[in-house]
């Protein structure tokens, strides 16, 4: 099993805040890694560190056996990494198709405009945005913008896909269909790290789960192991006893 991505002792500070401390893991090719933790735990910061938006101060990041710790985001993209954003970042004044074409044109396959347009149409079909291809991206609703983010990332045909809360804000049936989409992406051989709050989904699709709290990696393991982990339950799932206690006071 080849290791696609490897983090060794990655740390990141913002002013006085230790956003990430000593995060270390290996991600084998073809797997889905779930990344969970409370808001503010540093999950998105970890994504930003992995794809070069905020390079870490300490530690090393290896991607496809090359060190990419200090590389810029576009270097990552060209090497075959793509991501979606938790807070959607559509290119508002461009059409949906053009948005996706940017992904195809500047990702690691570096397609020309003609091919990019074809890829864009395929990918839009895949994520279900085909009917809106000619609309301006700014006119989509939030859920559609999330899918647009996904389509842009997929159009780059990456080796590694970083999904930041793609399920957030979706209703259960949409979640189901999105989960299916994610699984189909994996079938194409794309490795995925996903940040997710929807526990059921993340437990179902992930091969492994990594839990962050205050920038510290508090647990890593199979979904089953994580579900039983006391620290995880306390830090993330909310202390059931606490809830109980409040209820009883009523």
């Amino acid at each position: 099993m080849t290791i696609l991505l490897s983090l060794q002792g990655v740390s990141k500070r913002f002013g006085g805040l230790q956003a990430l401390s000593n995060v270390t893991f290996d991600l084998p090719e073809g797997q889905i890694l779930g990344l969970i933790g409370p808001n503010g735990a540093g999950k998105t910061t970890l994504f930003n560190a992995i794809n070069g938006v905020y390079p870490p101060e300490e530690g090393r990041i290896m991607f496809r056996e090359k060190e990419i710790t200090k590389a810029r985001p576009y270097d990552h993209a060209r090497m075959g990494m793509a991501r979606t954003h938790q807070i959607v970042q559509p290119l508002n004044e461009l059409s949906v198709r053009e948005n996706v074409m940017v992904g195809a044109c500047f990702g690691h396959e570096h397609q020309d405009l003609g091919n990019a347009s074809k890829i864009a149409d395929e990918v839009l079909e895949f994520v279900g945005l085909a009917p809106r291809a000619d609309q301006l991206a700014g006119s989509l609703n939030v859920a559609q913008k999330k899918r647009l983010e996904m389509a842009r990332a997929l159009a780059a045909r990456p080796y590694l896909l970083l999904l930041d809360e793609v399920l957030a804000g979706l209703n259960p049936s949409e979640i189901d269909s999105m989960v299916q989409t994610v699984l189909r992406i994996r079938e194409q051989g794309i490795t995925i790290i996903m940040i997710e709050h929807v526990m059921k989904a993340v437990m179902n699709v992930s091969d492994r789960i990594l839990v962050l709290d205050y920038g510290v990696q508090i647990a890593e393991g199979s979904p089953e192991e994580i579900a039983k982990n006391e620290k995880v339950i306390e830090a993330y799932l909310g202390d059931p006893k606490l809830a109980q206690q409040l209820l009883e006071e009523e």
Partner: protein, 236 residues
Amino acid sequence: MAILEIKEVTSGYGDVQILWGSTLSLEKGKLTCLVGGNGVGKTTLLRTVMGLLRPWSGTILFEGRDVSKLPAYAKADMGLVLVPEGRQLFTDMSVYENLEMGATNQRARPNFAKNIERVYEMFPRLKERGGQKAGTLSGGEQQMLAVARGIMADPTVLIIDELSLGLAPVLVLQLFESLKLLREEGMTLLLVEQNVQLALAISDYGFVLAEGKTELEGPARQLIKNKHVRAAYLGL
């Protein structure tokens, strides 16, 4: 008696509609919570209620009066106060100045001395750090300050957006305890929370928002048992 009523409100940014008919009402002196996934429009709804965004249609009644078109600052004067998501502190100003700013509105000014005492009692840490710039506080302290600033406004209705965001459980517990205290003093509270379990646990009544519309409502204890809520938001 409903002190704040939101009826079929639609709104959005520019051409993009986010709210597709949200309805909500708060009982005086009760703690109500509003839950829903990310991006369903909770924050948009609050911004609309507060007057930072104009409602496209629908009405907002506060104490029986139509306040749909009033600007935010006028609402603060009436006692409708929001503790916004992400704290929105005046980071370049001192802790004390932030509290002063909280007491900007007409109602709160005469009660400044009384309120600041109450706030310092509730959050002694803030008293210690009065002269410090708000931007240099830790996350938990900032959240305390945000709530404290809201209390300084002497609200009749206090709306809190994402209280527990990024806070350690022990701090969350402490803040939630403070809310209960406020409710006992007669304040009406609306809590918008991602921590659904906890929110429903301490609330009297709850609303569930999805796709910009009110999907479900009911007493909090019923909601927590509702299959759909459990599946969608509690992952159980």
